[in-house]
């Protein structure tokens, strides 16, 4: 079995996105925005002569659970939930609060903020290129329960497309954060990042052809198992990311079911994975049958590549299978035998000694 754990770990170091506490710039951006929102909400509500609601913020997304990777397009993505201490029963229009947020941040960046269905998006640019964006999902409470509700809808959506959706951002964070411990947790994080990088490399970025990161993450929480292998040389057990990733990929592949599409008269591999928290919806629901089928095929290719890499004893050969085709050029390839050692140093020579039969 190829021992390319070191290469996997180097790859991980190269793609890993540091958390807020390690990434001062992003942390500052977040804090500026949250301060500005607090201040803005106070001003707005005072202008409207209403009681100023208290606000809470919640880190969401890959930053919050420490599963981020450095984006291919350098468009960093921060998710910061804004929780209004208000009741949905008093706010029948779910977009009203999002518009307030949008207005507060109107002149904050060159690119105007945008109200999307699940959030308000602030885009920061660097030399006219998007440098990162901050997604701000907006939540509200209810008079009748302890749940949070996500403000869904755009500014000019029909009334039907504006609603308060049951959500549990904290629960989701906890679910992911608490799924593994210690070394298993470290490997889990690495393996999820490998999957995300693979997704960036192997899928077209347009539309919904990429499986959503949250989908991969939720599936990994469910399916990942910690793998170590015995290193004969050192005589010790050590983490086996290749084995763990391969195991996850094949388990995920097995979650697909073959579904007949009567309109297209064709079978597709499809997958459903429900959120483990409210609203328990299917995380892959936005993908079409075709896209899911292609997701399946790509998983299959990845599984084959990992199996092939595993079968090579030469680390150069093993890494060449994976890099750059599946994981991009950040995955290191150790030098080849030919590059390191001068060849033609030996050939077989018939001699009486080698002719003897036993």
């Amino acid at each position: 079995m190829a021992d390319i754990q070191k290469q996997f770990e180097e790859f991980h170091d190269a793609i890993k996105l540091k958390r807020f506490k390690e990434n001062e710039e992003l942390r500052e951006k977040r804090d500026i925005i949250t301060k500005k929102i607090k201040k803005g909400v106070k001003t707005k509500f005072e202008e409207m002569e209403k009681d100023v609601p208290s606000l809470e913020f919640i880190d969401q997304g890959s930053y919050a659970v420490d599963l981020g990777i450095i984006p291919e397009d350098k468009d960093y993505d921060i998710d910061e939930g804004v929780i209004f201490d208000l009741y949905k029963e008093d706010y029948t229009d779910s977009v009203e609060l999002k518009m307030i947020i949008r207005d507060i941040l109107e002149n904050h960046t060159n690119t105007p903020p945008k109200i999307k269905n699940p959030c308000v998006t602030i885009t920061y640019s660097l030399d006219d290129e998007p440098a990162y964006h901050v997604d701000l999902p907006v939540y509200i409470k209810s008079k009748y329960d302890n749940n949070l509700y996500l403000a869904w809808g755009k500014e000019f959506s029909n009334q039907d497309n504006k609603h308060w959706d049951l959500a549990d951002p904290e629960g989701l964070n906890d679910h992911i954060r608490n799924s593994f411990k210690d070394d298993a947790k470290k490997q889990f994080k690495r393996v999820v990042r490998y999957m995300k990088k693979w997704k960036d490399i192997c899928f077209n970025s347009s539309g919904n052809s990429r499986p959503p990161s949250i989908g991969l993450t939720i599936a990994a929480v469910d399916l990942f198992s910690y793998k170590q292998s015995y290193n004969y040389l050192s005589g010790k057990f050590k983490d086996d990311d290749l084995g763990a990733l391969k195991d996850l990929v094949s388990k995920l592949k097995n979650k697909f079911i073959l579904k007949w599409d009567p309109d297209l008269e064709k079978s597709f591999y499809t997958i459903e994975y429900n959120l483990p928290v409210q609203p328990y919806s299917n995380v892959f629901s936005k993908m079409s049958n075709n896209q899911m089928d292609s997701f399946y095929q790509k998983l299959n290719e990845l599984e084959n590549a990992l199996t092939e890499a595993e079968s090579k004893s030469d680390p150069h050969e093993a890494c060449k299978v994976l890099s750059p085709k599946y994981f991009g050029d950040k995955f290191p390839i150790p030098e080849s035998k030919e590059a390191r050692y001068q060849q033609v140093a030996l050939s077989s020579a018939p001699s009486s000694n080698s002719a003897k039969g036993d």
Partner: protein, 564 residues
């Protein structure tokens, strides 16, 4: 060559912290291409680069891993040196050495590697004892015997006359049934996938019990259950199917150490008494039918060969064929071993003093050297022997004729063609100009008679026509050195031996003539002329020749091929 080894090593980027321990001996860190750094020692030979350096894993800083080709001392066996030639440029040798060392250290599927070299690793066990086996392994468990001397096993065998006499010959001592102890042969039913014992790591008694139980069928277990005894020592011969598809044969010697234990048991499979015995692994040297054939070069069925003529060519032929695995020979020759021709003869000079018949001396010599070989010796002239019914040509699988007398060979040819046994005639020419071998009676036309033309010249001859017999200078003796005699007869026997093996392998069509051609220098200096055939190229002469076949040969043309 004066080489600065320190500098040589330091120039390699994959080596680090090169330190001279003493002259020729260095410590260093070797970085494998997967990033693993392993401390090694390298010891150069003063004969470097003609001799390769020796590489060890440095025990001071690293454990000795349990992987193939790494010995318990840490020695990395990176190359089986036999049959390879390496560069004589020091920089390149280092690259090649570390390439090989790396290959050992990152090699795939260790278990398979171990299994491929099961015997080798088993032989490295510290307390292993060697033992012979003349028992040919079968597919069923079986009670067999072991010859033990002073409690120590010496050889596994079956208690029958044949095996006992074979072993008696091997040991040069008489072996009777009462010298033998019981032993049990057990072929495991299922492929063993586990670790191969080596160095100081033999299976524990409990492990053995588990291995046996896990690798036999219920049926086999029932059969083994009958092997229960109340003895001080127990001997087992095991056949183990390996991952490679091969089968290893090993022996186990159980010696009871709990002297209060006294009941019928089978320590091999009884895990309740594992601590009552000490087990010694036995490294089995097989001398049974299967192994001898495998090593000899592929003669599979027991063959009965008639060898007519036991002079220098005949005796060398016998020697080569016995070493190729043929075990049954009948020798016919009426000559005695004389001092004059002893130089060229296989038996050598010391055997000629007694003036004994060659067939008798050869029988003694060969049965002594190769206990599996059985020889019937007939001291008589061949035509007479056949005529008086002492032998029946149809009883043989092959007849070899190395008499060197064309007149007798011509007559013998006729008799052979009347039988159904194929034959090979072989003879050597004088002065080292060459030798020949001819297949006859192998279906189709062509026989010894075809070689002879109306002027009584042999088609095959390398010597030109001469009325003077070429025989005189063939007789080298102690007084006069004959430059070619012995080598020529050997070369001829070799030519004939290869033909025999091809014939037995069904690799010969019809009845070809093959020849080898030597130098004509001495021959011509002695005033003789070579034939036209001699002028053909060596390689052509060495190929199967069917040109000699005489379609109207009075011996073979109307005997065979009638059906066509």
């Amino acid at each position: 060559m004066n080489i600065d080894f320190q500098e040589l090593l330091q120039e390699k980027e994959y080596l680090d912290k090169v330190t001279e321990v003493e002259s020729y001996n260095y410590e260093l860190l070797f970085e494998l291409r997967n990033g693993y750094q392993i401390p090694l020692t390298i010891t150069f030979s003063p004969l470097f680069p003609a001799q390769l350096p020796v590489v060890h894993i440095n025990e001071k800083y690293h454990n000795i891993p349990d992987i193939p080709h790494v010995m318990s001392s840490g020695l990395v066996c990176f190359l089986d040196k036999e049959g390879v030639i390496w560069s004589d440029i020091p920089e390149r040798i280092l690259d090649f050495v570390f390439d090989r060392v790396e290959r050992v250290l990152i090699s795939n599927s260790p278990q398979m590697e171990y299994h491929r070299e099961f015997s080798y690793y088993f032989g490295t066990l510290e307390k292993t004892e060697p033992v012979f086996s003349v028992y040919t392994p079968e597919d069923e468990p079986k009670e067999i015997s072991v010859l033990a001397m002073g409690g120590k096993p010496f050889a596994f065998l079956t208690d029958d006359v044949e095996s006992r006499s074979l072993l008696s010959k091997l040991l040069n001592a008489n072996i009777n049934s009462y010298n033998l102890d019981k032993a049990y042969y057990i072929p495991l039913d299922y492929t063993y996938k586990g670790k191969v014992p080596q160095f100081d790591r033999f299976w524990s008694n409990g492990e053995i019990t588990n291995i046996i139980r896990d690798h036999i069928s219920d049926d086999t277990l029932l059969k083994i259950a009958k092997f229960s005894m109340n003895k001080k020592r127990y001997f087992y011969l095991l056949r183990i199917p390996l991952l490679t598809g091969d089968q290893a044969i090993i022996g186990l010697w159980y010696e009871r150490v709990n002297h209060s234990l006294s009941k019928k048991v089978i320590p091999l499979i009884d895990d309740s008494i594992v601590d009552d015995f000490v087990v010694t692994p036995l490294f089995v040297f097989r001398n049974d039918d299967t192994t001898l054939i495998e090593r000899g070069g592929g003669i599979k069925k027991p063959l009965n060969v008639l060898l007519v003529g036991c002079g220098s060519v005949g005796s060398d032929l016998l020697f080569m064929l016995a070493r190729s695995g043929i075990k049954h020979f009948t020798l016919i020759d009426d000559d005695k071993m004389e001092i004059e021709n002893s130089y060229r003869h296989f038996l050598g000079m010391n055997k000629s003093i007694e003036r004994k018949p060659k067939v008798k001396l050869l029988k003694e010599e060969f049965e002594n050297r190769y206990p599996n070989v059985q020889i019937q010796a007939i001291e008589n002239e061949v035509l007479d022997t056949i005529e008086n019914g002492e032998i029946e040509l149809n009883d043989f699988d092959l007849i070899l004729v190395a008499i060197g007398d064309p007149n007798i060979e011509r007559s013998l040819n006729k008799l052979i063609l009347e039988s159904s046994t194929p034959a090979i005639f072989t003879w050597v020419e004088a002065y080292g100009i060459g030798g020949h071998a001819l297949v006859v009676n192998n279906g189709e036309k062509g026989c010894y008679e075809c070689l002879i033309d109306s002027e009584l010249r042999l088609y095959s001859s390398f010597a030109g026509k001469s009325d003077v017999p070429f025989i005189k200078n063939m007789n080298g003796c102690a007084g006069s050195f004959t430059p070619y005699g012995s080598i020529d007869s050997m070369e001829t026997a070799l030519l004939a031996s290869r033909l025999v093996l091809r014939l037995l392998d069904n690799d010969i069509k019809g009845n070809p003539l093959v020849s080898w051609k030597g130098s004509s220098k001495v021959f011509e200096e002695s005033g003789f002329l070579t034939s036209d055939r001699y002028n053909q190229p060596k390689d052509i002469l060495n190929q199967d020749d069917y040109e000699y076949i005489n379609r109207s040969c009075k011996v073979c043309s109307n005997l065979k091929d009638v059906a066509y």
